[in-house]
Symmetry: C2
Subunit: 451 residues, 2 copies
């Protein structure tokens, strides 16, 4: 007897995989853009879903805050209810696309308690309190699936936790926020400044009226926490993620990046090191030849480095109603198949229990851009400062004349790219450089990733 | 009771997911480059695999043709046996990395009959006779996994059959043969001719001494058949795949592709159309901005267009011992988890049972390159020929002077890119063009994909 046999409401008449007479009951929490597309797929693909699942999927209710709001014609008004607490007790699979911590968390726990498998797109909840959900589901013998919570339609959760289960992931580099990728892309391709690009993203519906969650990297940090937990079989919460958004990135940064062979991307980075894991979100210079450099517009991509598999990349739409609904439905089919055929999906185990290392322990390459007095010996003095702090230089480029309003007043621009250095040494180096008499100003310090 | 309970040799003592005392017995068929890497991962990752599976994986035997061949130190000589038929009867999971149709087919069926789940990297076998294996496994209640059979380490089988199970795949475009991608890449970047590039690939170990299977597209055709079967839930065998290799591609083709904004790639294409599916392998012009255009060297990538998910791409190493072994081990963990926790993986159902359409029914864009008499009115005459055959022109480019040995003898070169046309109309058009008095020769006719 498997766990599935004892579940409340799980039909037990037949487990052959053939179409059964008893449909599986699906409850939907939330009916916004994603929820509506979920309803559409459940409706238009009903026959295919039945063939793939072994049972028809019957939508038994849609929990909403307000039943009077006008909805897409695909949504059957009779299925709407404001009583989500009751709805989750009468479903085999509960889909949550409400977002936020509460009431999503309580509703999912209640669904699990009543024997339902759950499918969620809720990155905030998983990044903050995923382990509580996983443990409850494990105890109840039901599934928790969440492909839609990271990188929208891109299958990344399933590949990392299943396809790479026999390998060791060393590093994950992800463009996991479409809004910031769109903004940086427009700054690069059109020379827009950050504000202009954000306004354009808002006009296109890529960015919220308040773009803080995207621009400051909070959204990417939640996804980084989920990816790191999966990739390294350990617990990483959003509070463990060092975060820096793109609000300080200028048109000048973007232009110089290109001139030196890079493009600026907001990256979610999770690294396995001997001592533990390090997880961070920040803008970084990515070499133009790197596969992530070609990820344009609002697309997302996750680049994975594994010991045996080598380099992998997963690319696609990271947001939007239909793409997210596609990921949700894939999870619903997996959960539903387990109801029909027995068995259950992977359990999120954090058996590795690795320490989370501070950002100051990260070792990366840097590109420092600064304006200095244009006189002999300055380059040597700056180079000596770096050497004093144990930071090794990979390349120095001196611009023929500084650009910008100060152009021609006896300044030279240096672009220094370092070899790998610790964040601590680099910070000390930059402080020393900033204080040097020949240095007018440090224009930017950007990490270089994907080399 | 699930199917797994009744399997011969499946331990039944505990199903909690905790480590069990009874290890799972793993048998390996084949100990070449991939097999040796499988042994290495089973050995070096033993603790992690146990944590992820819920049981230790014990390698109980390695079937080889000749036990005397010298092997890597990681291979325990005592596990070697020439009696594969006996070995498969005493395992919970059988891994097949022998390749070829027989004896692989009989050994896997025998393993299934004796209650083992099987993991195979055998694209030839799956493309020819997959359904026999799937049906046998379904009847026996065991798993067949084959992530390594398509695109090596890239998780593509699992995403297509599980993550996209709630969506409708419209089209798959894959660079699934690393050898030909390397060859075309070298022709493009270094101007090598085909023979030189193939010799280089052979020297690097990317191409076999007899490169026919790669160069003529047989390997890609097998993978196309598997991908099409998965994506469209129907049966496609390698015999259903229209196949054209890269042997006719010249340096001139590659150079002109680039000049007109394309790169030539050998693509495996599977399309869902209203009337059925169409599956083919041929070299094609891919627009430089398309994500597949950036796939360099021996890398593989599979681009998927789904109704709700939109465009997805999966990128990574398509061959090699360690990458392929990574994919195999991921499958082993999935199969092993089902032994421990109950349940089973997806069953390959070809419920859709779609007709396979001939290549002549395909509709694509074309680029035709031809030399014509350099006199007024010729372009109009050629354009009229296309119009007569219902082929609509997207662009005509006339080169200032033809390149090559005939340069300057009163010829002009036309590069005509068409809108979508059927293969039949195009063939008729090309025949008419070839026979026209002002046409010296048709240099090439290439399909344009990914537009």
């Amino acid at each position: 007897m498997t766990a599935a046999d004892g579940q409340a409401g799980a039909p037990t008449d037949e487990r052959t995989g053939d179409h059964r007479t008893t449909p599986l009951r699906v409850a939907l929490l939330g009916c916004g853009v994603v929820g509506t597309e979920v309803v559409r797929l459940l409706t238009t693909q009903a026959d295919d879903l039945a063939a793939r699942t072994g049972a028809r999927l019957e939508l038994v209710g849609i929990a909403v805050r307000d039943t009077a709001t006008p909805r897409d014609a695909v949504v059957d008004a009779e299925l709407l209810t404001t009583d989500a607490e009751e709805l989750v007790t009468r479903a085999d699979v509960v889909i949550e696309v409400v977002g936020g911590i509460e009431p999503a968390r309580s509703l999912l726990l209640r669904a699990i308690e009543h024997g339902a498998s759950v499918v969620t797109a809720n990155k905030a909840l998983l990044a903050q309190d995923g382990p509580t959900l996983y443990a409850a589901a494990d105890a109840a013998g039901v599934d928790v699936y969440f492909e839609a919570a990271v990188a929208g339609a891109i299958p990344i959760v399933r590949p990392v936790r299943e396809s790479l289960a026999g390998d060791r992931v060393r590093r994950v580099l992800g463009i996991v926020n479409g809004t910031t990728n769109y903004v940086l892309d427009r700054m690069t391709s059109e020379g827009l400044d950050l504000d202009q690009a954000v306004k354009e993203a808002q006009a296109l519906g890529y960015a919220e009226a308040d773009p803080t969650a995207d621009v400051e990297g909070f959204d990417a940090a939640a996804k980084a926490a989920i990816l790191a937990s999966l990739a390294f079989h350990t617990r990483v919460s959003i509070d463990d993620v060092d975060r820096e958004g793109i609000s300080a990135i200028t048109v000048d940064d973007v232009a110089w990046a290109e001139r030196t062979g890079y493009v600026i991307k907001l990256l979610a980075i999770a690294e396995r090191r001997d001592e533990g894991v390090q997880v961070r979100v920040h803008p970084a210079l990515v070499p133009l030849a790197h596969p992530l450099a070609g990820v344009r517009g609002a697309f997302n991509a996750v680049f994975v480095e594994a010991e045996a598999a080598g380099e992998l990349m997963f690319y696609g739409r990271g947001a939007g109603g239909a793409p997210t609904a596609s990921a949700v439905l894939g999870d619903v089919v997996s959960a539903a198949r387990h109801r029909v055929l027995g068995g259950k999906g992977p359990v999120e185990s954090s058996y590795a229990d690795l320490p989370v290392l501070p950002a100051s322990s990260a070792r990366t390459r840097y590109q420092v851009r600064l304006d200095v007095q244009d006189r002999p010996g300055v380059l040597a003095q700056v180079a000596a400062l770096l050497a004093d702090h144990g930071v090794s230089i990979e390349a120095v480029r001196q611009a023929p004349a500084p650009l910008g309003p100060d152009g021609g007043d006896g300044l030279a621009r240096l672009i220094i790219t370092t070899h790998e250095a610790s964040e601590e040494s680099l910070a000390a180096t930059v402080a020393a450089i900033t204080g040097h008499e020949a240095v007018r100003r440090v224009l930017s310090v950007l990490r270089v990733e994907g080399v």
